[in-house]
């Protein structure tokens, strides 16, 4: 419901205002209760082996502990590590601080991975040892021997964790690096919140810096959380500040007002709250990528508000005829873009799924609030008009018009070049770089510490390369031969050899890891393979590309369907698609020139750009069509707001370029480049293509009638739709078919305000008082019933079909005409099931009947309809205009005594005559009457009307001959009026059966009561 419409306003507020108030409350609750998560791995598909390995490793680590890792190349001795640990132990919020070789918990998993990665024979030996108590006793005796004599703390440490000498380094006697130079620090409290993480990390960092300045890097989850959250806070302040500043500046330059911007930003805030509420209800949390939904909403959603604002800034109001068009365009555009994003909900990446849902929820909200609350606001407080903008828009329009061929060809060349070059460019790998380095802002200490820790692990696994070379497949094979449940036997052997259970604990924990891995080997296999991050990059890259290919196809099909629903024209949909391709070609060209690759995050820009480009091009096309190709008017209406919207979007998306996080910088740059490409394609290429596709000279005012614009067909007016209808009609009862038709009619009525507008305008020519929307719905219902019967007829015999005929009036007139041996023109109107005339005459009059028909929306449909008529003996003659050949053919048919049937109450061709209807004027096509004059054949007006019982009365009215008057025009005018006078009373009695969905009036001709 529109806020400006005649709807109820409880307590003086519009329904939109009530919804907004509820949304503010729900949004506040969501903002307060939603959880923000900064971890990386939940963003990725959980099924990937590398992701599972990392998550398993993370699960082993203490969430409340940080790790101090020596700076690579710095001299850190165990004594220094001890000193630092000692110092840290004095901090009040530190529970434990220990020098260590590896963080607790990780050791068992890494050790298990190394055992699993043993060559097959060595692994078999391990399993044999564990199954043989005597062998275990012998090994324990050797372990005791190793502890005698010269003390080797490294070896002692190794035997302490591996008394059975199962690990590769234990077996070959080379001790692992024995220097416990890492420092593991566990917090006394729970480090859940960002603030707690930041506080604890600050204390630890200060203490470490005091005793070992420049020697240690801090890492682990709390450090990541602390640093990323701090970075995000800084970035958000900078980004929001810069974005708002730039948007405000651009808006002021355009419109010299900031008050309106406040209202626009308020609507954006409402859409963000709507999305946040949906996110809270669906997910309960927001990840670091999901958070960017706000940027996307601001970038795209503000377009709708600016378009609405511009409408009012041009001095127009909600009662302007342009308003319904704009409102529909905004809502359709929001649905299309939301649909494009919604498809991402099918992605394998949780981060994309979350973003998709949030944006798909937020954009329709932005469109709805823009066309209700905001429109209501500007209706009450209209902004001052800006004439200077109009002049600028005209200059741009003139430029496009003057150079339309050059621009159109350039656009085509861009597309062709992209089609040729892109595949080769994509194969170079420069276009997409999934390397996870893009996710690692190396200025963050946590990341540098993580890298140093990986080096540390690599050094500790000095003997692992050979094992790594085996690959994860060998690990899986080893694990397939693993026998779980050996831990108890190990404990028993150690007890027998004089070792307490604490000596068995490390081995038991390694065996437990192997037991788990035997059931699910993926994680450990990746870990053992040693390239866990490399694997992750590869897997994510492959998955992202697969998602992109799969979902882009789905999104594209969905978008094209929505575009078709908007335009009802294949040509316009193709123009939409061409604009999209051109925008992408420009984007990829820009990426190639700037040597900027797409990353796993900036790949997100692609669906976003699909939405943005379709958004712009949809608006441009709808307005171009509405303005009948008037480029000046279209540019005035759209060029200004779209360029402003693009600038604001670029300001919003460009702000992340200031971020310290490389992935956000890349995202911002790609998005800005894409927005620029979308604007160039939509504002230059598209209008040029559109103008070229039309007649070069605009029609004269008198001709600016309904047929001056390309004919558009509803979606049901196509070959497949008719075939489907006929197929269905053969299989279901007529009643059910009519019920289905009723449902379809109601949906169509609700979803097609512009069509309804045209219909009501036509009905107002014959109805007083002017009909309302209910009258339109009645017409749609009646039309649907006729269509259902039409389909039903298609599968029935002649006898069954003739059962539909009620009264046949005036048959004697037709018979006498026929018996006179002359042909006749049977002229009728779009009344009820007019196609039934042929059925009514079949078997009663032995005459040839030919129906004149305009070309349908496709040759297939023309053929289908011709075949349909042929069943009742009615031939079809397709007429394309007023050419002499058509005239000759019709004359020949009449001369042969045929009845030639035609519809006259809709203008086509160049011979049209204005007729008076009870409450206005309309154009009838009158060319056919010239043939009647030439052939001196009778003209018989015929009508078909459906009765309440569902049967149809067919009536032939009094015939007349066309006698030439003072001029051809006067002749046509006169006899067209005769026909109108016959049809008008019948239409007035049955307005719901007059199916006039195309405009009957020239736009310049105001209707006036006759």
């Amino acid at each position: 419901m529109s806020a400006g419409g005649p709807g109820k306003r409880p307590f003086g507020f519009s329904p939109a205002a009530w919804v907004a108030a509820a949304l503010v409350a729900a949004g506040a609750w969501s903002a307060l209760t939603i959880r923000f998560q900064t971890e990386l791995t939940p963003l990725f598909p959980p099924g990937l082996a590398a992701v599972r390995a990392i998550r398993a490793l993370e699960a082993s680590a203490d969430e409340n502990a940080v790790l101090l890792v020596p700076v690579p190349g710095s001299a850190v001795s165990p004594e220094l590590a001890e000193e630092v640990a000692t110092r840290l132990r004095l901090l009040p919020d530190v529970a434990e601080a220990e020098p260590c070789l590896m963080p607790p918990g990780v050791l068992a998993k890494l050790a298990a991975a190394r055992v699993a990665a043993l060559p097959e024979a060595a692994f078999a030996e391990v399993t044999a040892v564990l199954a043989n108590p005597a062998e275990m006793a012998a090994r324990l005796e050797r372990t005791r021997g190793d502890m005698l004599g010269a003390l080797d703390p490294g070896l002692l440490a190794l035997r302490r964790i591996d008394p059975l000498q199962l690990l590769p380094s234990s077996q070959n006697g080379s001790a692992a690096p024995a220097s416990p130079v890492l420092v593991w620090v566990r917090a006394r409290g729970d480090l859940r919140s960002f603030e707690a993480c930041q506080e604890f990390v600050r204390h630890v960092r200060a203490a470490a810096a005091q005793f070992a300045p420049g020697r240690y890097l801090l890492t682990a989850r709390p450090v990541f959380a602390a640093e990323i959250s701090a970075q995000m806070q800084r970035d958000m302040i900078i980004m929001v500040g810069v974005a708002v500043g730039l948007v405000a500046a651009v808006f002021w330059i355009y419109y010299r007002t900031l008050a309106a911007l406040g209202a626009i930003l308020w609507v954006q805030a409402l859409s963000v709250l709507a999305a946040l509420t949906v996110g809270r209800l669906c997910f309960g949390e927001l990840n670091v990528i999901g958070v960017s939904f706000a940027a996307v909403l601001l970038g795209v959603g503000i377009d709708y508000s600016i378009l609405v604002f511009h409408h009012f800034a041009m001095g127009e109001r909600m009662d302007s005829p342009h308003w319904p068009v704009l409102r529909r365009a905004v809502r359709l555009s929001a649905l299309t873009t939301a649909g494009a994003f919604g498809v991402l909900a099918l992605a394998q990446f949780p981060m994309l799924r979350q973003l998709a849902v949030l944006v798909a929820a937020g954009l329709p909200a932005a469109a709805w609030f823009s066309t209700t609350l905001l429109a209501d606001h500007f209706e009450r407080r209209p902004p001052p008009p800006r004439r200077r903008l109009t002049g600028a828009a005209h200059h741009v329009a003139d430029f496009i018009d003057r150079f339309r061929r050059v621009i159109a060809v350039t656009g085509a060349l861009v597309i062709v070049t992209a089609a040729v070059v892109m595949p080769a460019f994509a194969r170079t790998g420069d276009l997409f770089d999934p390397d996870l380095q893009h996710f690692r802002p190396l200025q963050l200490e946590a990341y540098r510490g993580q890298a140093a820790l990986e080096e540390h692990y690599a050094r500790m696994s000095a003997d692992a390369p050979a094992a790594r070379a085996l690959g994860s497949a060998a690990v899986r094979r080893n694990l397939a031969h693993w026998t779980p449940g050996r831990a108890e036997a190990v404990r028993t052997s150690l007890r027998d050899a004089g070792f307490e259970d604490e000596w068995a604990a490390p081995t038991a924990s390694v065996l437990a890891e192997l037991d788990v891995a035997a059931a699910d080997p993926a994680g450990l296999a990746e870990l053992a393979d040693g390239g866990i991050w490399r694997h992750l990059s590869e897997e994510l890259g492959t998955t992202a590309l697969a998602d992109l290919q799969r979902l882009s196809g789905v999104a594209l099909v969905g978008i094209l369907i929505l575009c078709y629903a908007a335009h009802r024209s294949l040509k316009l949909v193709l123009l939409n698609a061409a604009t999209l391709v051109a925008a992408f070609a420009l984007l990829f060209g820009g990426l190639a020139l700037t040597e900027t690759p797409l990353t796993l995050v900036s790949v997100l820009c692609l669906p976003l750009l699909i939405g943005l480009t379709i958004d712009y091009s949809l608006h441009v096309l709808l307005v171009l069509e509405h303005c009948a190709g008037n480029l000046r008017e279209a540019t005035e209406r759209l060029g200004v707001p779209i360029s402003l919207a693009a600038l604001t979007a670029m300001a919003g998306f460009g702000a992340p370029m200031l971020s310290g996080l490389p992935l956000l910088s890349n995202f911002g740059f790609v998005m800005d480049l894409g927005t620029l490409a979308a604007v160039l394609a939509a504002l230059f290429f598209l209008p040029a293509w559109h103008v070229l596709g039309r007649a070069p000279k605009p029609p004269a005012p008198e001709e600016t009638g309904p047929q001056a614009t390309p004919r558009r067909y509803p979606i049901f007016h196509s070959g497949p739709a008719y075939a489907l209808g006929a197929w269905t009609a053969q299989r279901v009862p007529r009643g059910f078919l009519r019920a289905l038709a009723h449902l379809w009619a109601r949906l169509f009525a609700a979803g097609n305000p512009p069509a309804t507008e045209v219909l009501l305008r036509n009905l107002s020519l014959v109805c007083h008082p002017p009909p309302d929307k209910k009258a339109a719905t009645r017409t749609y219902l009646s039309f649907a019933e006729s269509l259902a019967d039409y389909y039903w007829l298609g599968g029935r015999t002649l006898a069954q079909a003739q059962e539909l005929i009620g009264d046949r009036r005036g048959i004697e007139i037709l018979r006498s005409v026929h018996e006179g041996g002359r042909g006749a023109l049977l002229l009728t109107a779009h009344l009820s099931l007019f196609e039934l005339g042929g059925v009514a005459l079949k078997g009663i009059l032995d005459c040839s009947i030919v129906a004149l028909s305009l070309p349908e929306s496709s040759p297939a449909l023309s053929e289908w309809r011709a075949a349909f008529r042929r069943r009742w003996g009615v031939e079809t003659l397709e007429v394309g205009g007023d050419d002499q050949f058509t005239f000759l053919e019709i004359s020949r048919l009449l001369a042969a005594g045929s009845f030639v049937a035609a519809l006259v109450d809709r203008p086509h061709g160049t011979m049209r005559s204005k007729v008076r209807l009870p409450y206005g004027e309309a154009l009838f096509s009158s060319g056919i009457l010239m043939i009647a004059a030439a052939r001196r054949c009778p003209v018989v007006p015929v009508t078909v009307i459906r009765r309440d019982d569902g049967r149809y009365d067919v009536e032939a009215h009094e015939p007349f001959f066309v006698v030439r008057r003072e001029s051809n025009e006067a002749t046509l005018q006169h006899y067209s009026q005769v026909l109108a006078d016959v049809f008008a009373p019948i239409i007035q009695r049955h307005p719901e059966q007059w199916y006039q969905f195309a405009p009957l009036l020239p736009s310049s001709s105001p209707s006036s009561p006759a």
Partner: protein
């Protein structure tokens, strides 16, 4: 009564005579001077040889691990710890800034002395002991010579309670010296959260002639 008095006097005389008086020439116990005196004592000797027993007790192991061997020391900075049980083990500081470590019949590994001392604290401990240092480099330990008991004296190095040892770090060191000669009789090192290694020294000889190949690298 006379016999009783005489008997009492004789008994008193006998009793007091049995009480050992201060040894002639032995210095009085002065805790503060012990480190200096020990250092002087050790630094006067050109060479030292002795036999030792090394007893390792680890948390969670029921039986201690006992090793035996001989130690040769020669000033400055040369040390050979030669194990007989288990045979073949060797710790060698040839005095050129390196350390050689061999386990059993395995290959001897040569490392820089600083690195070896970092990873094998007993090397630093034993070398420091023979060079006259009672306090090893480990920070946070307090030196406390205890009054002699009989012919022995214990010098304890204990950790400040406010700065507990890390896991596996040295908790305390006790050096047993003969009194008043201040010859090393043994060293006991306790590790934090369990574990202890004890060296007992016997047949200590100073300034003897050492085997010619005592400090030759294997």
């Amino acid at each position: 009564m006379v016999p009783i008095r005489a008997a009492s006097a004789v008994f008193l005389a006998l009793f007091t005579g049995l009480i050992p008086g201060p040894v002639r020439g032995a210095p009085a116990f002065d805790a503060a001077s012990i480190p200096t005196r020990f250092a002087e004592r050790q630094q006067r000797s050109r060479t030292v040889t002795l036999e030792f027993t090394q007893t390792l007790r680890l948390a969670g192991m029921r039986q201690p691990l006992v090793s035996r061997g001989r130690i040769f020391y020669a000033r400055p900075g040369r040390l050979r710890v030669e194990y007989e049980i288990p045979a073949g083990d060797l710790l060698l500081l040839p005095g050129d800034g390196t350390a050689v470590i061999r386990k059993g019949t395995g290959r001897a590994v040569e490392r820089r002395l600083d690195d070896a001392a970092g990873s094998s604290p007993e090397l630093a401990l034993l070398l420091g002991l023979f060079e006259g240092r009672l306090s090893p480099a480990a920070a946070g330990l307090r030196l406390e010579p205890k009054p002699p008991s009989g012919d022995r004296l214990v010098v304890a190095l204990t950790r400040d309670p406010a700065r507990p040892a890390p896991r596996g770090g040295i908790e305390s060191i006790e050096t047993i010296l003969s009194w008043p000669a201040l010859d090393p009789l043994g060293v006991s090192v306790r590790f934090a959260r369990g574990g202890e290694v004890v060296y007992e020294f016997n047949n200590l000889k100073r300034d003897g002639v050492l085997p010619a190949e005592a400090f030759a690298k294997p």
